[in-house]
């Protein structure tokens, strides 16, 4: 009796353990990895108002790309939106694919200095970037409070490159941006890297010494799909992608609704934000259109404008040693930037 009980319990445990794993949703359903930021608003509204046609969805909300990638490793979601750095790491480790761009994140990375910083003694030293203050000498040796392996970090690398410097010429202190803001207010560090809404809390006399916009480069939020979803339910992913851009275009001019929804999303996920701040955020980061995707993803695989934009940042990560040259080769050979869905949608129009 005892042996049978032990055997039954063991079988039950094994059954439970094997059942615990990836989401494995049906062919015409998708699990979406969403984020409580501008790019996630159309997904949130579509779920709330039942706007999706032809398939069912379930959304999982992730405050950061790190946790989103961890869930991807466990096959917990299939399509979604995320920042470019986590997408790159997801591509290397889990075969994640970029199938489109979402909002333009270039306006987000901002680098502030105090009014007495020697960086402000020079302006216009970087050709073509009049809004980048300082030169190689004034930036060299500076302590920069910046969360590493993020869009801010990538854009910082671009700023340093334009100044003729590399990461080894400065001291990058990895900090959470809200803690970095507190530390900078307390007199720590020479340069503060942050993004909205945290950037809305900077002191009035601090100066924007550099930014994503000032570099003239572009860094996107990306629309992604797991390798598994693309191989097992490609048509559903394509239908979702099409409707995501449709919803973006329908909603993009309704600033009131977008900002209210963003405020709700952020507060529900433990982020502190005001109505005024969400309005500023949605105004600064308009939703994408399909026409923009057509322009970015037109061309032979590996030779589109989207490839050029993304691979620039892949190269930065290779230079920094975050990923290896063989990881980059793997991204290229496995079609990290997959323009096939956008191409098919263009042909269907």
């Amino acid at each position: 009796m005892k042996k049978r009980l032990i055997c039954a319990l063991t079988c039950l445990s094994m059954l439970i353990l094997t059942a615990c794993g990836g989401s494995g949703s049906a062919e015409n359903s998708l699990v979406i990895g969403n984020q409580p930021y501008t790019q996630g608003i159309p997904i949130y509204i579509a779920e709330e108002e039942g706007l999706y046609e032809g398939f069912s969805t379930e959304s999982l909300m992730f405050v950061s790309g790190n946790t989103q990638n961890e869930a991807l490793g466990a096959d917990e979601w299939e399509v979604g939106v995320t920042g470019l750095p986590p997408a790159i790491f997801g591509g290397v480790s889990y075969g994640l694919k970029i199938i489109g761009f979402s909002v333009d994140d270039t306006v987000s990375p901002r680098f502030y200095v105090r009014p007495d910083s020697d960086i402000l003694t020079v302006q216009g030293a970087v050709e073509g970037c009049p809004d980048i203050y300082g030169d190689a000498d004034t930036w060299r040796g500076k302590q920069i409070l910046c969360p590493t392996a993020t869009s801010s970090h990538l854009m910082l690398a671009v700023v340093l490159e334009k100044l003729g410097l590399s990461e080894s010429d400065v001291e990058i202190v990895h900090m959470d941006p809200s803690q970095a803001l507190t530390a900078f207010k307390a007199g720590e560090g020479d340069v503060l890297a942050c993004w909205p809404p945290i950037a809305y809390g900077v002191d009035e006399d601090w100066v924007l010494a550099a930014s994503g916009v000032a570099t003239g480069e572009q860094i996107p939020i990306v629309v992604v799909a797991s390798e598994k979803a693309l191989s097992e339910k490609r048509d559903t992913v394509k239908a979702w992608l099409k409707q995501y851009y449709q919803h973006c275009e329908e909603m993009k001019d309704d600033t009131d609704k977008l900002s209210e929804t963003l405020e709700t999303m952020e507060i529900d996920n433990g982020l502190t934000v005001s109505a005024e701040e969400t309005r500023m955020i949605v105004e600064e980061r308009p939703l994408p259109t399909f026409a923009e995707q057509a322009e970015l993803f037109t061309g032979e695989p590996g030779q589109t404008k989207a490839d050029e934009i993304v691979m620039k940042y892949v190269d930065i990560f290779v230079q920094e040693g975050r990923i290896s040259e063989s990881d980059k080769e793997k991204l290229i050979s496995e079609g990290f930037i997959d323009n096939s869905l956008i191409t098919e949608l263009m042909e269907e129009q």
Partner: protein
């Protein structure tokens, strides 16, 4: 003597067998696909990464030695400071009522606050350098030192104290000659717990602001999805903690030889 040597060899062998079984099961679970290679590295990959990190700063910006030394310095300063302040404080609170009444209320308030909750305040008062991170480790390590030292004194056999009083010993003499020696086993237990807390708080302390350290290395491993780097960091923290615990055991045996 011979049987002592045999016992030592047996102890070491059993330890090695235990570790070997653990590694074997780990490798087996991964080979069978029970644990996915997407989410975890094999023991071989971890060893490869360990050796790689000894000579390369990629992908997290410093070699393993640099990370280790940074964390070791941080953990040890926090740990030693906690011992130097916490043990005397606990001993004094345990014997002198006035000290207990004075210090206990504040201690009871501070005790449940998790170290990570101190980060925003610490940034304002101590900045983002070593002192701030040492404080986070100190807070974690301080509590076990105080509690165990206090308890050690409280557990002193009252018969010894009464005999000393009968012999005409004053409070200070009773405290130093009877209570403190009596409390040594509990003090060492507190030190051991404090050592563990110092190392386990490293990751939280290095979240404050880092350019290197084992906690930073683990965080970077998480960000760039490198489970091998995470495991190397965890193993270095674990093995260092175990080694320090062993050293502590040796010191305790020397100071309190009567304790088995």
């Amino acid at each position: 003597m011979k049987s002592g040597k045999k016992k030592l060899i047996r102890k070491i062998l059993l330890g090695c067998v235990g570790v070997g079984i653990f590694l074997g099961v780990w490798q087996l679970l991964m080979s069978m696909g029970v644990i996915s290679e997407r989410t975890m590295s094999t023991p071989g990959q971890v060893l490869e990464t360990f050796i790689y990190k000894l000579r390369s700063a990629d992908p997290d910006g410093a070699t393993l030695q640099e990370h280790f030394l940074s964390s070791f310095k941080l953990a040890m300063i926090g740990f030693i400071t906690a011992m130097v302040i916490g043990i005397p404080m606990g001993l004094v609170m345990g014997y002198f009522k006035a000290a207990r009444l004075l210090l206990n209320p504040m201690f009871e308030v501070i005790r449940p606050i998790p170290p990570i909750a101190w980060i925003p305040i610490v940034i304002l008062f101590l900045g983002i350098g070593m002192p701030a991170k040492v404080f986070i480790v100190f807070v974690a390590a301080f509590v076990p030192c105080v509690i165990n030292s206090y308890t050690g004194v409280k557990l002193t056999n009252p018969v010894y104290i009464n005999v000393a009083k009968t012999m005409g010993a004053g409070h200070f003499r009773i405290f130093t000659k009877i209570c403190i020696p009596s409390a040594i086993p509990m003090v060492f237990t507190g030190i051991r717990l404090s050592l563990g807390a110092s190392w386990s708080t490293l990751v939280a302390a290095e979240m404050l602001a880092s350019t290197n350290g084992l906690g930073y290395m683990i965080q970077m491993g998480r960000t760039i999805i490198r489970p091998d780097i995470i495991v190397v960091g965890m193993l270095v923290i674990g093995c260092t903690g175990a080694l320090l615990s062993f050293v502590l055991g040796r010191i305790e045996r020397h100071i309190a030889p009567w304790r088995k």
